[in-house]
Symmetry: D3
Subunit: 223 residues, 6 copies
């Protein structure tokens, strides 16, 4: 399971791009203790090491959630079930865009900064997440992306969801199963944003610049 959990494609991209940027001096959450690896169950350590090796750093959400192993497993199993799902019409960039757009409503630093970075990497559009953070209605989005975010935000706001909401999605080629995917990602991050708030989870320093520099330049830098 762990292999697909954080996602091979993603971690590969990240590790290539940011291998020189490890060792940040991030301020980790001070509210709950971060367990030592030696005190963690083996399956959790294994997952963390795989992610860290591929990414070049361990995103703070893994450290912080390991304080509660049973919840760690359920959280990442759910995350994996919706984010690394093979079926449906949502690309990895679409999913990250949903997370960015809904997490800014809840003003969640970790979720916005980390998933903006992942969006930049998957979409190859270095400015779009920043635009969505400021004002998604004015961002350079396709009509399809607009419809996707409009549905995601209605779910995120806990609006009553009506048939009209589904019809607007259908007009852009999303079926009911895609609606479920969009709605579940928005709902899962409604949870994650709130957990991040009470834990005071902070983004790793690496996320701020990840995916902002065109590949060519990065290569040059790493020489």
């Amino acid at each position: 399971m762990s292999g697909s959990l954080w996602g091979r494609a993603q971690t590969a991209a990240v590790s290539q791009a940011y291998s020189t940027q490890a060792g940040g001096t991030m301020r980790l959450t001070g509210r709950y203790p971060i367990p030592n690896k030696k005190d963690l169950p083996y399956d959790i350590v294994e997952l963390m090491e795989e992610v860290e090796m591929k990414t070049g750093f361990l995103p703070n959400v893994f450290s912080v959630m390991s304080h509660r192993p049973a919840e760690f497993r359920a959280f990442f199993a759910y995350y994996n079930a919706i984010m690394n799902k093979e079926t449906g019409r949502l690309s990895k960039a679409d999913k990250e865009l949903i997370i960015v757009a809904t997490s800014i409503v809840n003003r969640c630093p970790y979720c916005v900064i980390a998933h903006s970075a992942l969006h930049r990497i998957y979409s190859k559009k270095p400015a779009l997440a920043d635009q969505v953070v400021v004002n998604w209605k004015l961002a350079d989005l396709s009509e399809r992306e607009q419809a996707m975010l409009e549905f995601a935000l209605a779910v995120s706001h806990a609006d009553n969801i009506t048939e009209e909401h589904f019809q607007k999605l259908e007009a852009q080629g999303f079926d009911r199963e895609d609606a479920w995917d969009i709605g579940t990602i928005a709902s899962f991050f409604a949870m994650s944003n709130r957990i991040a708030h009470f834990i005071d989870m902070r983004p790793n320093e690496e996320f701020y610049t990840m995916g902002r520099i065109p590949r060519a330049k990065e290569k040059a830098e790493t020489l």
Copy 2:
């Protein structure tokens, strides 16, 4: 795992109290198909049958979520990890009260009606959940319960959570681990409320009256 998932204590209580009330004509959600048992994975069927046998009816959340087995498993594993946790200072009634108080903010019919019923059963206070639904600040709550709900609602509103929030909890005897429990339940139902909205999940008919009649009368009725 399934044994503790929905919780033995809870289902036992429910089955005793409501065995005569099965057979409602609830309107189930029409948005997503409910799979036939024969098409479901064995572990999911096993869990559903155990719950149904003990409760006297199958709460709709089980039917509806089985449309996506991987998500079903993660959802109930997470639910189980926080709701059936043995440690900490939160009673079963406390946890249900948190769910009622936060779910009414999101105006979630399933969550409010079902968990009001569970609160009545665990607390033996038949009017308190109704009071919380109307106006938690005017409900007949202890100071401890007020502090618990104040924290839960701050998390539910995605407020920035500060040290002051934790200190108010501590003044009522809740430590940081209890705060995590309260915060996680509020966060998990921030997710569940939203999923229920886009699926259009409806409460089973049985929940409306569950726990409203004192035990003595029920006994008499079942004779």
Copy 3:
């Protein structure tokens, strides 16, 4: 006047259903003194005794408002003029539904709990008021009831009321006089909700369960 004030039909229904439930230990308001009957004007005592005899208990609003006899008379005269009006298309259940739907906006415990009970009795629909309390848009309402509540809520929110509002009512068979009735009930309870808040008026215990049990069972119980 007093005969029709609280309404014969209503009190009869209530007295049949709840004659065994008198003697609750409700927490009455502590903010203002409740006068002794012997100190009250005769017309007020007469009205209270009539209501109490028929209902099986005296709803707290009568006790509390008797602190100011002139206001008591005006309040119940107004209540009577709109609630016990013989003409128009609003049924007694319709009127109670308006009160429930608008009072939950103001989070008024007395008004929501008491009038939910009255709605259950008049409508014979034991779950509908609970649904409206949680989320009227998702409740099992007819289109006619939805239009009625939409107008009532617009009045309750002190929205500007336009011709379009009246046209939506007309499309469901309500004329201008019905609109006046709906609007006045919503307005009167905008007042009542606020009075209940500063007086800290609490619902009688009896209201919580009133009308929840089908008649057949009640009969059996009272034997």
Copy 4:
């Protein structure tokens, strides 16, 4: 009753000041028919003629409400009971100030314009109501008036009213009975504002300028 209903003192003041300004071309409400005097019950005609004779014009609220005689009687009986009450610490100007401050929240043209006029007359402060309409917190109010309006606005907003609210009033010399008066006026106009909205009740033209010109000048003008 009618003698004190609209208030002798008030109507006298008004008739002196504005006897030259009758005959405006106000736009009356077009939503509900205004009955002819000859079709109205005698007690209602009597009250209207008394008010008109003393004031120099008939405020529109009387015309409009006469469409429903029973409600007319209850409405003005309630109005009279709270506005022309002899006891308590609220002056006539205080009561009008409460009406202005709460009615602007609901953006009610009739209530704001008419009662601003009455406030100017009773208070002899021609600018204060205008200030309260724009921003009561920045108006030239005494601490006593501020406390009075703060309570009135809390009631008007349907806030939960706590002991702290009463203590703030007490610090300015208002007892519990005064609190009842303030709260009831705020509540009664919560109703009136909403009735005015659905009836589309408009202020008489005379109200806009009433009380703006110092008495000396008026005298000179009327010569």
Copy 5:
């Protein structure tokens, strides 16, 4: 430049109407010192004297802003550029109406009271600004004025402005340059309202009654 800054037409109208009303006892802001004329740069004194001579009093905004001469110059240059512009379809009364309607949203006493007065003078409609202050949607406005205010308020609320907004203006005869004018006035007063708040700028006493009395009467008074 100063000649057109405050506007010749306007000051002439004002000076005729209010020359007898100078000498009010306004409460000026106490937060920042008002410089003595002798300490002010010559161009600022010249502008102030011209305005005062023509108007009969010096509007407080001139005194208060002179605390910062460079900002005074920029503020009134901008004001002049948009308010005394010769081209476009906005009349002077239109511009004042925009200021009144947007400034009440920000509850700015100086801006609402002063520009209501100017609107009365330019429009010869003594009640319209008062109506807009209470509830612009219910004011006696033409469709053209409604469209103008709807656009101004959208800008004032910092809404995203879309092509649809411009089309609604065009339907009432306003082109893109008029839209720029409306939008800039709304934006400039979004700034002015906020400056007035932190400086605690108060309206001159004269503004409250300015333009309320028909010309004929005023003439008579000044004899």
Copy 6:
């Protein structure tokens, strides 16, 4: 004047850092025509060329505002008076932080993206503006910066500003003149944000990455 208008220090910093990044393919506003330089007054062209030469590109606000030369001059004169003021305790980074924090409230893409870039350059803190954009209360700010932003945001929200607001500033070493500066910047950008919205002004592409890369790396890249 033009020399200090956009600020020598600033443009120098920008031109050094971003000289290799000119030539973006930004989407300029399409709502209003951008004049050709040859049709613009000489003083405006001069200012634009100076800025462009030093910065390496012409920020869109200059192009867009040149559509109205008189307003262009007043806008930048005001901007200059408050942003390039030599006195007071606000650093250039402080001023940019105020703009970022208040402009995100109004969701203004140009203002947030452009001034986040300027903040990164002046502060040498590449992540702070991003943090403020997401949630200023959780950003890594000093107490002094928090007090500054709290005041700026109160002004931006058009709150009533009280003595308490000033005292909180004083506790962090800001005097009344500094308060004026903070308040005026917040007010000026309340205007600018709204102008940007109706003009649909977009950030230049260069701003998104400006100041994100440490100087050493940039040097290396430009070789």
